[in-house]
């Protein structure tokens, strides 16, 4: 074999090797980049979807600080279905589970200021309880 042919073969093998290594590295980088993008982009989407599905506790009546002239008040609002609701005041404690979105319940009042705490324990026990505070004043209507 001629000297020139041997040099050409060796040069060709060396060039092929370098090119091969370059391609392998490039492929690895591409794979890593793809994996990094996929993992975090899915996680927040899942959280957002779960959060938007939660029905937050809403009290439509009575208004906070309202004066009433009867010795009871109707509490109406919205909460997550199948959650446990606890309503506590100095006069009475109530507990019930709701099977639909809306709830309505009568609470007896004492003369004067009535502090009322409404707490919802969601059916998903991993979720934190939600709470609202109200003050309702039962005062004589003639005053």
């Amino acid at each position: 074999m001629k000297k020139e042919t041997i040099i050409a073969v060796v040069f060709g093998i060396a060039l092929g090797g370098v090119l091969g290594l370059f391609l392998i590295n490039k492929n690895k980088e591409t794979q890593l980049t793809k994996n990094k993008v996929i993992a975090p982009s899915n996680a927040p989407n899942k959280t957002l979807l779960t959060d938007s599905n939660i029905q937050n506790l809403e009290i439509s009546s009575p208004q906070d600080g309202i004066v009433v002239d009867g010795n009871s008040v109707k509490i109406t609002g919205k909460a997550e279905v199948n959650s446990l609701i606890i309503i506590q005041s100095p006069v009475k404690d109530l507990s019930f589970k709701i099977n639909k979105l809306n709830f309505s319940v009568d609470l007896p009042l004492a003369l004067g200021e009535n502090v009322i705490k409404i707490v919802v324990y969601p059916s998903n026990k991993n979720q934190n309880p939600q709470e609202k505070d109200l003050k309702v004043y039962y005062l004589d209507s003639q005053l």
Partner: protein
């Protein structure tokens, strides 16, 4: 001539009749407007029928200053002729005088709020309660007290007295039942009612009422 006078008289009679009829119609519609206006005002007053409450920091006979639960100070203007004063005791109220309202009394005021000034119609001296809830972090069986951490990470120490009403949620029936101190465990949720006091330190209160939600409810 006579005919002309007669025609003129008839014309004057018809015209004056019209004017009178118009006046009568106007006054009737005015009355309707006034009635509607009065109803509107009454509805607005009813919708804004709110009361304000707080602890008295000053009473000089003309003005009372109160501080509410959020530490906001309100000035309550008293009217010698119009403002009425009462003391609420359990299910009844007794009329009192303005001078009977002392510093540290908890009062409820009905009236008109303008900025941070209330023109008082009525003032009631009343008891003030706090309603709270949270998870039980500690049960002290020697001193009959429990520690509760609420959602804002505040710790309340509740002393269970002989008069404290203790209730527990039956996890099967979800009915509220009477219970005793021995049934309270760390990790349970507790709802409580305490009296607001002026000498309270480190959120330590004597409990009026406790309702326990056992941790078993969250496991099942």
């Amino acid at each position: 001539m006579k005919k002309t006078i007669l025609i003129l008289l008839i014309a004057v009679f018809i015209l004056s009749g019209r004017v009178l009829a118009q006046t009568a119609t106007t006054s009737a519609s005015d009355e309707k407007d006034i009635k509607a206006f009065k109803e509107k005002i009454a509805n607005v007053i009813k919708k804004n029928d709110k009361a304000f409450s707080g602890t008295v920091t000053l009473n000089d006979g003309n003005i009372i200053k109160i501080k509410n639960g959020d530490n906001i100070v309100y000035e309550v203007k008293l009217d010698k002729e119009l403002t009425k004063y009462f003391r609420i005791s359990s299910a009844s109220k007794k009329e009192i005088k303005a001078d009977d309202i002392l510093n540290n009394d908890y009062i409820i005021i009905t009236g008109v709020l303008t900025d941070k000034s209330i023109t008082a119609n009525s003032i009631f001296i009343d008891e003030s309660y706090i309603a709270g809830s949270g998870r039980i972090s500690e049960v002290d069986k020697d001193n009959y007290s429990i520690k509760i951490v609420n959602s804002a990470k505040e710790t309340f120490t509740l002393e269970v007295e002989t008069y404290t009403k203790e209730f527990i949620l039956n996890v099967k029936t979800l009915e509220i039942e009477r219970t005793g101190f021995s049934k309270i465990k760390e990790g349970d949720y507790a709802h409580f009612i305490v009296k607001r006091g002026i000498d309270v330190k480190d959120n330590k209160y004597s409990a009026q009422k406790i309702l326990i939600i056992p941790q078993e409810y969250f496991i099942k």
